[in-house]
Amino acid sequence: MKIELLHRPGNTAAKVTLNQGEVITAESGAMIAMSGDMDITTTTHKKKSGGFLKALKRMVAGESLFLNHFEPKGVSGEVIFGTALAGDMMTLNLDNESLIVQGSSFLACQEEIDIDLGWQGFKSIFSGESMFWVNLKGRGEVIVSSFGAIYPIDVDGEMIVDSGHIVAFNETLDFTITKAGKSWLHSFLGGEGLVCKFQGKGTVWCQSHNPNSFGSSLTSGLRARRA
C-alpha cells in the first residue's frame, strides 16, 4: 500500500495505491475517484459491529459513521480520498499503539487497524457540538484531515486546546474539560468557553482553523429557510 498526499496544504487529496489483497477503510463519502475494478463493502463498524440497532442508535445521536472498505479485484488499484472543507492531511504510522481521532478528521486507515467508534471519552460534555471520537488501535497507516493547516504540539506537562481545533492525540495523554486561564467567567466571556486540557507526555495534532467558528461567521449572512 502506498499513500501519497497531493496538492498540500490547501486542497489536499490522498491517493492510495493498493496491491491485491490490501484493503483500506475510509469514512463514508470520502472517495472522490477510484479504479473501475474496486470492491467496496460498507459496514457500520470493523469488528464486533453490534448490529443494526447499535448503528441506528448512533445515527439518532447524530454520529452516524459508515465505513467503506476498498479492495482491488485485480492486481492493483487506486483510490483518491478528499474532504468537504479545504485543508491539509497527514499520515500517521501506528505501531501497536492507540490514537484518538476527532470524528470529522478521520479519513482512512489500513484495514488491520481496529476502529472503535463508540469511544465516549468527553463526548457528553460537548453536547450541542456534534462531536464524536474514533479510537484507532493496532499497526498500520492512518490518514487524518483538517480544516486549515495541521500543527503538532508536543505535550510535556499541561497544554490547553480549544475543542474545535483537535485533530488527533496519543492515548497516552490524559485530558480534562476545563476553562482557559484561572477563571470560568473570563473563559466564557473571552469566547473560549470549555476547552480541553491535556496532561502527560504525548502529541496533540491541532487544526489551525475551527470549522464551527467558520460556520457561525457564515450563518449571520444566510437567509432562514421559509419552510
Binding site: 490547501g10 493547516a149 480549544d162 486561564g181 469566547g191 482553523h209 461567521s217 457564515l218 444566510l222
Partner: protein
C-alpha cells in the same frame, strides 16, 4: 515576545511565545491552543457602553481577551481568526490605522484599541456603525477571509463594500450607490466604496458576504 505567522496565506495562524510578564490582547475566541498556565482575562471591548454599542451595531464581540504569562519561563500560544485567510502584522510607531469590524486579531501592550463612530452610511453598507482605530506603539496583527492586497492610493479609488479590511486614518470612505436607491438598500447589492485621500488601503480578495450571497439562492424555498 516572539510571534510568527504560519500556515501560508490560505490558512494563516499566529504562533506566539510570551516571556515572563508579557501580555497579548486578542479578539474573542481567537485561542486555538496554549500552555495551560497562561492566564486569560476577558475585558469589555472599549468600555462597557461602547462595547455594547459595537456588539449590537458594529458586528464586533462584546469582549476581548488578554493572555498573560504570570509564571517563569516562556509559554506558547496559538491564535487564529474564525475564517481561513491571510494574517498580516503592522508596527505602529505613534501612528494609527483603521480596521473594519472583524479584522482585528491581536496586538501587543502599548497599542490602543479605539472605537470611532463610522456613521450611518457605513451601517447601511453593513460595515457597522463603529470602526476600530488602533494607535500607539507596538505590533498589531489583523486578517480577513481570503488573501490581503495592499494599495497605496493618492486620490480616489473604488472598492467593493465588504472587501475593505483596513486603511490609514487620513483616508475617507464614502459610500456610493452603483444602482438605484431601492436595489442598493433592499437588495443589499449595488454599493461600492469610494476611498479618497493619500495612504494605504488593505483589500481582501474574498468576502464572507460574497460567499453567503452565493449560497443563499441555493437553499430550497
Amino acid at each position: 515576545m516572539k510571534a510568527e505567522i504560519k500556515g501560508s496565506a490560505a490558512f494563516a495562524y499566529l504562533d506566539v511565545e510570551l516571556d515572563e510578564g508579557e501580555t497579548i490582547t486578542t479578539e474573542s475566541d481567537a485561542m486555538s491552543s496554549m500552555d495551560a498556565d497562561l492566564d486569560l482575562t476577558a475585558q469589555f471591548n472599549g468600555g462597557f457602553f461602547t462595547g455594547l454599542a459595537r456588539k449590537f451595531f458594529g458586528g464586533e464581540t462584546l469582549f476581548i481577551s488578554k493572555f498573560t504569562n504570570n509564571v517563569t519561563g516562556t509559554r506558547r500560544l496559538t491564535l487564529v481568526q474564525p475564517t481561513p485567510g491571510e494574517v498580516k502584522c503592522i508596527e505602529l510607531n505613534g501612528d494609527s490605522f483603521c480596521l473594519q469590524p472583524g479584522a482585528f486579531l491581536a496586538c501587543t501592550d502599548g497599542v490602543d484599541l479605539g472605537v470611532r463612530w463610522a456613521g450611518f452610511t457605513s451601517f447601511i453598507a453593513r460595515e457597522g456603525l463603529f470602526k476600530l482605530e488602533v494607535s500607539g506603539n507596538g505590533k498589531l496583527w489583523y486578517g480577513a477571509y481570503g488573501a490581503l492586497l495592499e494599495r497605496e492610493i493618492d486620490g480616489e479609488y473604488i472598492i467593493d463594500t465588504s472587501h475593505i479590511v483596513g486603511y490609514d486614518p487620513s483616508i475617507k470612505l464614502k459610500l456610493q450607490l452603483a444602482g438605484g436607491i431601492f436595489s442598493s438598500l433592499f437588495g443589499g447589492e449595488g454599493l461600492v466604496t469610494r476611498v479618497v485621500g493619500k495612504g494605504k488601503v488593505v483589500i481582501q480578495t474574498r468576502s464572507i458576504a460574497g460567499l453567503t450571497s452565493w449560497i443563499n439562492p441555493k437553499f430550497p424555498m
